[in-house]
C-alpha cells in the first residue's frame, strides 16, 4: 500500500464540502464533551493523519452493533465514518467473500502489523475447542487471538464482546466468553450496549484518531465520557421518580402521563450509558421516552437478572427463583417462628420450675 489517504481527502473525494466537514468536527467535539478549541484540532488531525486501519471481526453475535454503527445519526457519520477509518476487513460490510475476504484480512494484518485497531463484535465460545463459532473454516477464537496479536488496541463492541450477553446466559452451553478473558495483553476498550449507540461508537473512534490514544476509561474499561453517568442521572422522567409518581401498570393513567417507570422494572438507576442524553435514531427517542423501562443492556449480566419488569433481582442460589424480599421474608419467618416456639417452651419450663420450687420449698 503506497500512501494511505487522510480522512479529509477521502471526504472531499466523496463530495463532502469543507463546510459540512467543519460541522462534523464541531459536532464530534461536543459529542465528546470537548470545548470549541478542540474543533480545529480534530479538523487538523483528520486533514493530516492517515486513516487508521481497522479490522472488524465478528464472533457469536447478532450484528446489531454493525446495524447501529451504520446508522450514525449525524448525516455525515454514515457516509464518512466508514471512509474515515480504513476498514480493511469487515465481513458484514465488505464486498469480497470467501477466500478473497480471508486474503484481504491476512494482507491487512501483515501490512499494518502493530498499527491497526481490532474491532471485535461478538465473542468466542470456548467449549468444544471453539467449534460453536466457525469463521473461514476455523474456530473464531483462533482468528481472534491471531488478529489481536498484531493489534495496537482492541475495541470490544457491544455487550457480547464486553460481557458475554445472551449467548453467555446461564448455563452458557457454548461457554461464550467476553474477549478480555481471551485477549489479556492488549489495551481493550469496552463499548457495551445491545447495541451501543451509533454516536458513541463513532465518537470513540474519532477520539482515538484525534488524540492517538484511548479515551479516559472507567473502572470496567468503558469510555467515561459516555458511560460516566447513569441513565437515571439524566433521565427526563427523574422529577416523577423524586416525587414518587410511578407507572403502576402499562395501560394506566400514569403511563399516559409519562411518569417514572421504576416500578415497571426500569434499570436506569443501575445502568451507565448515554441514552438519556444522546438518544437513538438521530436523537428521536430512547427506550424510556418510548414508555418502556431501560433493560440495562450496557451492564454486565443484564440478561441473567430475572425479569426485565421488576426492580428486585431473582436469586437462583436457593434452588427456586425468588427475589431478595421473598428469601429474606422466608428466613425472617422461620426465625420468628422458632423464636415463638422457643418462647412458649421457655414459659412452660419456667412455670414448671416454679411449681417444683414450691413443692420442694
Amino acid at each position: 500500500m503506497s500512501q494511505i489517504e487522510t480522512f479529509y481527502e477521502v471526504m472531499r473525494r466523496q463530495g463532502i464540502t469543507r463546510r459540512s466537514f467543519m460541522k462534523y468536527c464541531s459536532l464530534t467535539a461536543s459529542a465528546l464533551g470537548l470545548g470549541p478549541a478542540f474543533v480545529p484540532r480534530i479538523a487538523h488531525a483528520m486533514e493530516t493523519k492517515p486513516r487508521t486501519p481497522v479490522i472488524w471481526v465478528n464472533g457469536l453475535e447478532c450484528t446489531c452493533c454493525s446495524e447501529s454503527f451504520i446508522r450514525g445519526a449525524h448525516p455525515l457519520a454514515k457516509d464518512v465514518v466508514l471512509s474515515m477509518i480504513s476498514l480493511d476487513y469487515s465481513h458484514v460490510l465488505m464486498a469480497a467473500a470467501g477466500h478473497a475476504a480471508e486474503a484481504a484480512m491476512a494482507e491487512a494484518m501483515e501490512t499494518h502489523r502493530g498499527n491497526y485497531i481490532l474491532a471485535v463484535e461478538g465473542n468466542p465460545p470456548l467449549n468444544e475447542d471453539g467449534m460453536f463459532c466457525i469463521v473461514g473454516g476455523r474456530p473464531f477464537v483462533e482468528k481472534l487471538k491471531e488478529a489481536a496479536a498484531g493489534a495496537k488496541a482492541v475495541i470490544a463492541w457491544g455487550a457480547c464482546a464486553s460481557y458475554g450477553c445472551v449467548q453467555a446466559a446461564k448455563p452458557n452451553p457454548t461457554q461464550a466468553t467476553p474477549i478480555h478473558k481471551v485477549i489479556t495483553d492488549k489495551p481493550i476498550i469496552k463499548i457495551p450496549g445491545c447495541p451501543p449507540i451509533a454516536e458513541v461508537m463513532t465518537g470513540v473512534i474519532t477520539y482515538m484518531l484525534t488524540f492517538g490514544r484511548l479515551p479516559e476509561l472507567d473502572r470496567q474499561g468503558r469510555p467515561a465520557m459516555f458511560y460516566g453517568q447513569r441513565i437515571h442521572d439524566k433521565c427526563y422522567r427523574r422529577p416523577h421518580f423524586d416525587a414518587g409518581q410511578f407507572v403502576e401498570a402499562w395501560d394506566d393513567e400514569n403511563a399516559r402521563k409519562g411518569y417514572c417507570l421504576y416500578k415497571m422494572g426500569c434499570k436506569g438507576p443501575t445502568t451507565y450509558n448515554a441514552c438519556s442524553t444522546i438518544g437513538w435514531n438521530e436523537g428521536v427517542s430512547f427506550p424510556i421516552q418510548s414508555g418502556h423501562g431501560c433493560i440495562g443492556c450496557s451492564e454486565d449480566g443484564f440478561w441473567d437478572q430475572g425479569t426485565f419488569y421488576n426492580r428486585l433481582t431473582n436469586i437462583k442460589q436457593f434452588g427456586v427463583e425468588a427475589n431478595a424480599d421473598q428469601v429474606g421474608l422466608t428466613a425472617a419467618g422461620v426465625v420468628g417462628g422458632a423464636v415463638a416456639v422457643h418462647a412458649a417452651i421457655s414459659a412452660l419450663k419456667r412455670a414448671q420450675k416454679k411449681t417444683q420450687d414450691k413443692v420442694e420449698g
Binding site: 416525587a243 451492564e299 437478572q305 431478595a324 424480599d325 429474606g328 421457655s346 419450663k349
Partner: protein, 246 residues
C-alpha cells in the same frame, strides 16, 4: 411491714419479699457512649429498614401536586441516606470507643477464636438455649454465644451494609465525590450494580433476623437468666439476681 433498720433492703419490704432477698451486686459495664450508640444505632437501623424497603418497593403513587411541588420518594431516599450517615459515623465512634472505653467496649469487635474455653462456653450457652442446662452462667459482659452473634450480625453485618450502602450512594454522588473515591471500588467486585443492590437488600434481612433474635433473647434473658439485660443498656449497670458463684 418490717421496721426500718440498716439490714432492711427497702423501707416498704414485706416478710415474703425478705425471703427472696439477695445482695444484688451490680457492675458498671456499659459506659454512656456505648449506651448512646446502641440506641442511636437502633433508631438509625429502624429508619434504614423502613425506608430501604420502600426504595426497593415504592409506596403507591401519590398525586399531591405537580412533580415540581412533590418530593415524596425524594424524602424517603433522603431519610435513608441521612440515617445511613448517622449509622456510619456512629459506627466509627463506636470503634473509637473500643480503643478508649473499658474492656467491655471491645467485646463486640473480636471472637477469641483460638480459645478452647470460649468455645466450651459457647457450647454451654447452646445447651442452655436447648433447655439442656438447668441454670445459666453469670456474665458481666456478653455471654460467649452472644458475643459470637454480635460479631457476625453487627460487626460484620453493619460493616457490610455501610460499605455496600456507600458504594450505592456513590453512584448518585458520581465520580469525583468523596464517597465515590472511598467506596467506588466495590463496584469493581460486582460490576452490574443491580447485583450490589440485591446483596444490600439481602443484608437488610440479615439485620432484620438479628433484630428478632436480639430483642427476644434480651427480654428472655432479663426474665430467665440470673442477671439484668434490658435495663443494663439503659442504666449501664449489670445487676445480679443471686449471690451464688458460677
Amino acid at each position: 411491714m418490717a421496721s426500718p433498720s440498716t439490714n432492711v433492703p427497702a423501707h416498704d419490704v414485706a416478710p415474703e419479699d425478705l425471703a427472696s432477698v439477695s445482695r444484688q451486686t451490680s457492675v458498671y459495664v456499659y459506659e454512656a457512649p456505648v449506651r448512646i450508640w446502641h440506641w442511636v444505632n437502633a433508631a438509625a437501623i429502624l429508619v434504614l429498614i423502613v425506608t430501604g424497603y420502600f426504595i426497593g418497593s415504592p409506596p403507591p403513587s401519590m398525586q399531591i401536586g405537580e412533580a415540581t411541588e412533590q418530593f415524596v420518594f425524594g424524602y424517603i431516599r433522603f431519610a435513608h441516606f441521612a440515617a445511613g450517615w448517622v449509622l456510619a459515623i456512629g459506627f466509627l465512634g463506636r470503634i473509637y470507643w473500643a480503643f478508649f472505653g473499658n474492656h467491655h467496649a471491645r467485646q463486640l469487635f473480636y471472637v477469641p477464636f483460638w480459645s478452647a474455653a470460649f468455645w466450651a462456653e459457647v457450647w454451654f450457652e447452646i445447651r442452655w438455649y436447648l433447655f439442656l442446662a438447668k441454670e445459666p452462667k453469670k456474665y458481666v459482659g456478653h455471654n460467649p454465644l452472644a458475643q459470637l452473634a454480635m460479631f457476625f450480625f453487627i460487626t460484620l453485618g453493619v460493616s457490610f451494609m455501610i460499605v455496600t450502602g456507600f458504594a450505592l450512594y456513590a453512584e448518585g454522588a458520581q465520580e469525583g465525590s468523596l464517597t465515590h473515591d472511598l467506596f467506588g471500588w466495590v463496584h469493581g467486585l460486582t460490576w452490574n450494580s443491580h447485583r450490589l443492590h440485591t446483596l444490600h437488600h439481602l443484608g437488610m434481612w440479615w439485620i432484620v433476623i438479628f433484630m428478632i433474635i436480639h430483642i427476644y433473647v434480651a427480654i428472655r434473658e432479663d426474665i430467665m437468666s440470673r442477671q439484668s439485660i434490658v435495663s443494663t443498656m439503659i442504666s449501664g449497670h449489670r445487676t445480679f439476681k443471686d449471690d451464688r458463684g458460677d
